[in-house]
């Protein structure tokens, strides 16, 4: 519903954003794609010509590849599980009447605003340090041997740190969803004689399913590319090297751009698979 004039104005005004994003997407993507088919070692001879799918084969067959996939999936899966389960419980709790609800909400949300490097560093040193960390003190207090968190349980430690960062996000979104639940529905179920657990299972959880899906998809996209948390804590050692970190190491540390780019293409494909599902949900929402 508009005139030709406003339509052409609209196209003009959309142009800067569209062109910038198009450039931002296409230029580096094309370069990555090109590099991935080349033997490209900036510090050892530079561009050494086309090698076909060699990089793709080598990236997958390297001994570091499968462990990195496992590490990635473990971290993503672990964080999702923790944040969703705790997030649902916390959302239900925060929805109950209590004193100082606003303050509790702020306390719970706060970790989301802490920059990743800070949270990684604080956890690494002040909590997980095997000598002076708070956990070490706690373990010693109970007479246990302090755990070498980041080397003996590196994945678990990273999952803990990242879960702490993302729990607020899950809680906040699930809380919004819980609050949009029509209380009459619950009261009707109560009148129908459904006990608490059943009400949760048959009414609250289905109502939250959409929000949970959104949380899973958005978190997955961010979690697949977590970087600072690993960069600051283990630098990818002790089995904590994720796909993202492996690619980073190939590109910047060992300066094997071709190999790293092939890995990058894998990562892009992986992210896009998740993205398609997310877009479906968001797109459906646009229609109404």
């Amino acid at each position: 519903m508009a005139t030709q004039h406003s339509r052409s104005a609209a196209r003009l005004m959309m142009a800067p954003a569209v062109i910038l994003l198009l450039g931002w997407m296409l230029v580096p993507l094309t370069m990555t794609l090109l590099f991935s088919f080349k033997q490209y070692l900036p510090l050892r001879g530079g561009d050494l010509g086309w090698v076909g799918f060699d990089n793709y084969v080598r990236f997958v067959s390297s001994s570091a590849f499968w462990p990195s996939v496992v590490a990635t999936l473990t971290i993503v899966g672990g964080v999702l599980l923790i944040t969703i389960v705790l997030g649902v419980l916390l959302a239900l709790l925060l929805d109950q009447p209590m004193w100082g609800q606003g303050i509790v909400r702020i306390l719970v949300i706060a970790p989301f605003f802490v920059m990743p490097t800070v949270s990684a560093l604080v956890w690494k040193n002040m909590f997980m340090d095997p000598v002076n960390g708070l956990f070490a003190h706690l373990w010693k207090f109970f007479g246990a041997e302090p755990v070498q968190w980041l080397s003996q349980a590196s994945l678990e430690s990273i999952i803990l740190i990242v879960s702490w960062q993302w729990l607020p996000f899950a809680t906040l979104i699930l809380l919004t969803a819980v609050q949009s639940l029509d209380s009459e529905q619950l009261e009707a179920a109560e009148m129908d004689g459904a006990p608490k657990v059943k009400r949760f299972w048959f009414i609250i959880l289905p109502h939250l399913s959409r929000a949970i899906t959104v949380v899973v998809l958005i978190q997955t996209i961010f979690l697949l590319s977590i970087f600072a948390e690993i960069f600051v804590t283990t630098q990818g050692s002790f089995g904590s090297r994720t796909l993202t970190y492996l690619i980073y190491q190939r590109v910047l540390e060992s300066q094997n751009v071709g190999l790293g780019s092939a890995g990058g293409v894998y990562a892009i494909i992986l992210a896009n698979i998740v993205a398609i599902f997310l877009m479906r949900i968001v797109g459906k929402n646009l229609d109404n």
């Binding site: 519903m1 508009a2 005139t3 030709q4 004039h5």
Partner: protein
């Protein structure tokens, strides 16, 4: 001046044509009402005249000059929207002054015109308030004020009263009519309410599915509706239609009789029926009559004091001189 001419104007949204080729002339100073059921294209037509939509083909002329591709602001028209479309962040004063400010008018002149409009519309007491603090009727007046100050060659109203409650609507209807009498400016008014159309218009344009069904003064439309659609749309309660044998007696396919053109009697009359619901309005009574063998229901308007009850037998006699006759295609037989 404000003579608006539409010449073979059409409008399509994608594949669907909402306005087939349409010709219409609105004379200077005329109060024209576009009326029709929702989705008949009346609002689209108004937006075409305003310039908020492009015509697909055809020409719109304002005072003889081709305005088809002129942007809305340059057409010299002012519009009052259904939702009033007031700027919520501006005071009444700033709302009314906005078009003048856009025209880069001199500050003193803006001041003078705003004060003038505010006093005419009884808004002077609220002039520093924001739209959110006003009642529906006051908002409506601000929207009109914003239109008046520009001294446009024509006013366009898009269902301006549909968001008001019934009592206010009658009041605003009068105010707009009075405004028209005073300004003598062309006004085009879109509504789906035939009562508004009948009470306000100099000229009514009845639209259906983008087609003009009839153009004429309220009484012309009332007395001589060109087809069944117009006959059924204009007038309240609706005209009764009877076809079959009874229509044949009048050499017509269908005959139409207005409820107010039927006399009732306890004992004798041409048609016989049973009273269903009786609606007592005080001044008038509407009887809905069943079992006449003519149509499902025949509606009759009688004097307020006439006392029939549910289930009573009633005799009806239509006044022959005002029976409307229609042919097989639903067109009026002269």
């Amino acid at each position: 001046m404000g003579r608006i001419t539409l010449d073979k104007v059409t409008k399509s949204f994608g594949e669907t044509q909402v306005i087939p080729p349409l010709d219409l002339t609105i004379d200077d100073g005329e109060f024209t009402v576009f009326v029709g059921p929702s989705g008949c294209g009346k609002s689209t037509l108004l937006r075409l005249i305003a310039g908020l939509e492009d015509t697909t083909s055809g020409e719109i002329r304002i005072d003889g000059t081709d305005a088809t591709n002129v942007p809305p602001a340059k057409r010299g028209l002012a519009m009052v929207f259904q939702s009033y479309a007031l700027y919520p962040h501006m005071s009444v004063r700033k709302n009314i002054a906005f078009p003048l400010r856009m025209a880069k008018m001199d500050q003193a002149e803006i001041e003078r015109r705003v004060e003038g409009a505010a006093s005419v519309l009884n808004l002077s007491d609220y002039i520093e308030r924001k739209p959110g603090q006003l009642s529906g009727g006051q908002r409506q007046r601000v929207a009109i004020g914003r239109a008046i100050v520009r001294e446009p060659s024509a006013f366009l109203f898009d269902e301006p009263l549909s968001n008001l409650d019934a009592a206010l609507r009658v009041g605003m209807r009068l105010e707009i009519s009075e405004l028209h009498k005073r300004l003598e400016t062309t006004m085009i008014y879109v509504t789906h309410d035939q009562v508004e159309a009948m009470t306000m218009a100099d000229k009514i344009v009845v639209l259906r599915a983008g087609h003009i069904e009839q153009v004429g003064s309220p009484l012309e439309l009332y007395r001589a509706p060109r087809n069944l659609f117009v006959a059924g749309f204009i007038g309240s309660p609706k005209m009764n239609f009877v076809s079959g044998e009874e229509a044949g007696k009048h050499n017509a396919h269908t005959i139409g009789v207005r409820p107010e053109h039927i006399t009732v009697s306890e004992s004798e009359g041409r048609w016989r029926g049973v009273v269903g619901v009786a609606e007592h309005l005080g001044s008038d009574t509407f009887f809905h009559i069943h079992q006449t063998g003519l149509a499902e229901t025949i509606t009759v308007r009688a004097d307020g004091e006439v006392g029939f009850n549910h289930g009573d037998t009633i005799y009806l006699t239509p006044r022959d001189e005002v029976i409307h006759r229609f042919d097989q295609d639903g067109l009026r037989i002269a």
